[in-house]
Symmetry: C3
Subunit: 404 residues, 3 copies
């Protein structure tokens, strides 16, 4: 009978040593080790250790229909868009780490590779991580509402960089800032950037509101630095970019971002914009490029909603998943995806993208996506047979996704 309370204390969803007060005092027995299951197993201890191995697969196929007699022709394509493994962990004292590897044919890389320290609302991270670019960029690709993020997020070369940052969260306010060098692929180099972001995310009634802004300053190496802004036509498998500034000399990049979003039950909307100003050597005019996107989405299945956490969109967890007799969550999203790479004498072209996304989320960890995009280009990089640089490209994209 004496054993019963001790046993009850172990009645959670995870394995744990069984301790009876008389036979083995908890102290002598050491910390409890528990195994939970969140897509994959997570191991935690009662004294503050945690470890999880995770990963993701994004399997893509699609079709790009561009006007005849353009140089490159795409048509059907397929790829393993993302194949990643990830370890995350916690160490007593507030320490933590994340290390994610990306596998591509013939190559491997890492995305996040950092250590962290947390104390209350304060988090410090050192290593390679994101530079607080904006709402959609910081949201995991597992949780975005389109197969590819808005065009400007790639065009302006948003990427993880090696650096050190601090984040402070208090109530509805989130402050983020860090100093960075460059992506590990490009180090050692002489880049130096300061990146900051502020988010105000109150709950208004049952609606989650998100308002944010970010500022970015990157000093490039002194001599001979150049930048290039360009973007693929929605599909990642192609190397064709219809919009492309080409390389041009630069001293520094200054970016300003504005973010807004609302999640209200089955409905969500978001609007983001980013101004990329380039400081060029004496004698060259400084351009400012702009990209932005507005999207709305609605779940056709009742009870479903987009997740939101720590200033980013989080996972959709279907109210009635397939494994429990339901259909999962079905979401329809529409987006206007604008990017203008022409300014101050640099003619990179502009894109007006009209995009639709249907997402079937069967379980918390799987989804199928079907996207359509109509991309209208002006001053495109490639010209048609009749010499036109203003034309449209149609894209169908599909993805099967799993993570663990």
């Amino acid at each position: 009978a004496a054993a019963t309370p001790a046993l009850a204390a172990n009645a959670g969803a995870s394995p744990a040593p069984v301790v009876t007060a008389a036979a083995a005092p908890a102290k002598a027995a050491g910390p409890d080790v528990k195994v939970k299951f969140k897509g994959g197993p997570e191991v935690t201890t009662s004294d503050g250790w945690a470890f999880k191995l995770g990963g993701r697969l994004n399997l893509d196929a699609g079709y790009i229909d561009a006007p005849d007699s353009l140089g490159p022709s795409d048509g059907f394509g397929s790829e393993v868009r993302r194949a990643r493994l990830r370890v995350t962990g916690k160490i007593p004292g507030g320490f933590g780490y994340k290390f994610e590897t990306e596998f591509a044919p013939g190559a491997a890389d890492f995305t996040d590779a950092y250590v962290s320290y947390q104390d209350g609302g304060l988090t410090i991270e050192a290593g390679q991580h994101n530079t607080f670019q904006g709402l959609e960029e910081l949201s995991s690709s597992l949780n975005t509402s389109f197969i590819e993020r808005a065009a400007y997020t790639d065009a302006f070369n948003f990427e993880r960089r090696i650096g050190i940052s601090a984040q402070y969260s208090t109530g509805d306010l989130l402050l983020q800032g860090g100093i960075f060098s460059d992506n590990a692929e490009d180090t050692p180099n002489k880049n130096f950037s300061v990146d900051t972001r502020v988010v105000y995310a109150p709950k208004i009634g049952s609606a989650q509101v998100h308002l944010g802004g970010s500022y970015h300053y990157a000093k490039l190496p002194e001599q001979g630095s150049a930048v290039r802004y360009r973007q693929r036509p929605f599909e990642h498998f192609t190397s064709t970019r219809y919009i492309n500034t080409g390389l041009f000399s630069a001293d520094a990049e200054i970016g300003y971002g504005l973010e807004s979003a609302v999640i209200a039950g089955r409905f969500h909307a978001s609007a983001e914009g980013h101004w990329q100003h380039v400081s060029r050597p004496v004698g060259d005019a400084d351009p400012t490029f702009f990209g932005g996107a507005i999207e709305v989405g609605y779940f056709l299945t009742g009870g479903d909603t987009r997740g939101y956490k720590h200033g980013t969109f989080d996972r959709v967890k279907p109210a009635r998943p397939v494994g429990e007799g339901g259909f999962g969550a079905l979401q329809l999203n529409l987006r206007y995806d604008y990017l203008d790479l022409t300014d101050a004498g640099i003619v990179g072209g502009s894109q007006k993208g009209y995009e639709a996304s249907l997402i079937w989320t069967q379980t918390d960890y799987t989804r199928l996506m079907l996207n359509y995009a109509r991309l209208d280009y002006t001053d495109a990089f490639y010209q048609t047979a009749d010499g036109s640089r203003s034309y449209g490209v149609d894209v169908i994209a599909m993805r099967a996704q799993v993570d663990f």
Copy 2:
């Protein structure tokens, strides 16, 4: 006393939360999480989740003895033949995934990278996976009876490809078919293939019989496509190929495979053949190349047999493993390994391979292999000092293998 049945219910081989009916009803406690050990740990839950991290090491050394004064000279060589990590998992609702990475010096890649859906005998897979090439190719390299598969499996470029497939298993019958583009290393490209296979695998008395056939059609991109069929002399560490068609123009590849095998206690035999027909541009004759192998094997240790599962050879599990006081399993295999790459004006040469394999399987997850091959070439790619293209090459190959 009330706790005893609940405890007993947890008396399996794996950790599990301890629930007493009175203190914490099972429903509130969430699903049970169990950790089993199959080479490595596998974590499962009572509501249908599963996760396993696995992998393999193939450590090879060998010697290639070719006639003097041939161009390339090999002699002794060694390599880490396979170094792989793998995650596999199940998600309630019938979903699953497999993601396997291959590490090589200075590079990494993935082999399988797919998601799956299973309902009864039906399995659908999307992503990169095998194209139902044949018995030996589809059997894991962990379970083959020689260090390298028969020459034609490499020569005809059997590989995993990105695609979608369906498999249906009913009684002794297995039907497989899919449409594929290309290996992720080669995408994006315009390849398109249809691959099908049927297997009939009845038990006749205590013997496992396997009969199968496969058909493969691959349409190559329209302009300028070429193929090349060639094969190393049994050892993978060399880049010398004595048999080699060189590149030649091609429009499509059509493959026909026949498979047969029997496993009867300590004895097994198998015979496979594959005809590779190449459709060439107008004006060029279409060749059909053939490769095939016949093998027999016998366990010198009593009670041992080859595993068989889902239309492929499965793991050997020694009846008396080393860790439990036994010697493990000792198996002797002989193979005739034929490949003819000469037809319709293309002279790639032919190989008659006489091969022997001794395998010591200490435990379910370790084995040492010693192989000998005598390869007699006709019309070989390299000629000897006296101008001959018909000669023999002797090969010794060793492997230490572990998986988990």
Copy 3:
């Protein structure tokens, strides 16, 4: 009441099935599976299986201050120095394996990739592993007392190689020897080496003493082989080497190493030296280069000491870690790091390095390191604007480290 002893037997730090003698005999229940936590989870079974997934992150930043107008200029730099995942396991019967992958931008590789067999004091390893080079080289980079090992360990190209080795440990004596080909990156080639090492490591009072010597013979391929010895200025992120023999013809490398160390409570000291003799083709004089280092270290925090195991330095485990209300361990180390690459007509230059290291080890699995090095070069590879090849370089290096 009958259940109590069985429960007590499971009262360790890890989950385990709960077995009651009456309800489920242990035999029927299969082996116990336990999950322990050592930085990350380790899964073991009562019948001798074990599996652990681990890894490490080394996140570096630093500054190299070299005289003006030298060719390459470094200044600030940062990198992900090491990002590794590792699996290790045991299989009943004495078998084991280790497989560690290293991720770098755009590439991946493996470090250790071997299988092992252990019987009492005897261990046999086959696959890629270290060649018994010496105390600091064989100590894990997690446990060294400086951010980078002494200059000679890189200069003389210490690396893991594919081979087979035996180690025998008896009392205070450790004997190691193996035959190797080359690193997997360089295979197939014709290198062949014999590497041996002997260590005598008695406890004298409470002090751990370490004395050792090693011998290495590497036969290079017969025609056209060349070697090059060079080293970076302490920081790994740079590709500038101030000390560099350039490539020169060689037939064989013969290495002799001497090792000594003592650990006495908070204090440790070590001295190592390595002579690298190169046998050159007839007509060229054979040089012998020398590198060595002497270091002393002291923990400013009471109760802390360096770990020592199996002939190498082991992990520092702070007596009062941060997560348990302490400050962790604070260690100060000084080193003289000498390398002479000039002999027998080859002028590679020499380095006298004066180095200091401050290490804050918060927990068993995290540390922050701050290093300073003053490197005085003679006959350096690069010359200053005024033509001097004798000058000093100052280096600041920082590292954040976590492993699991």
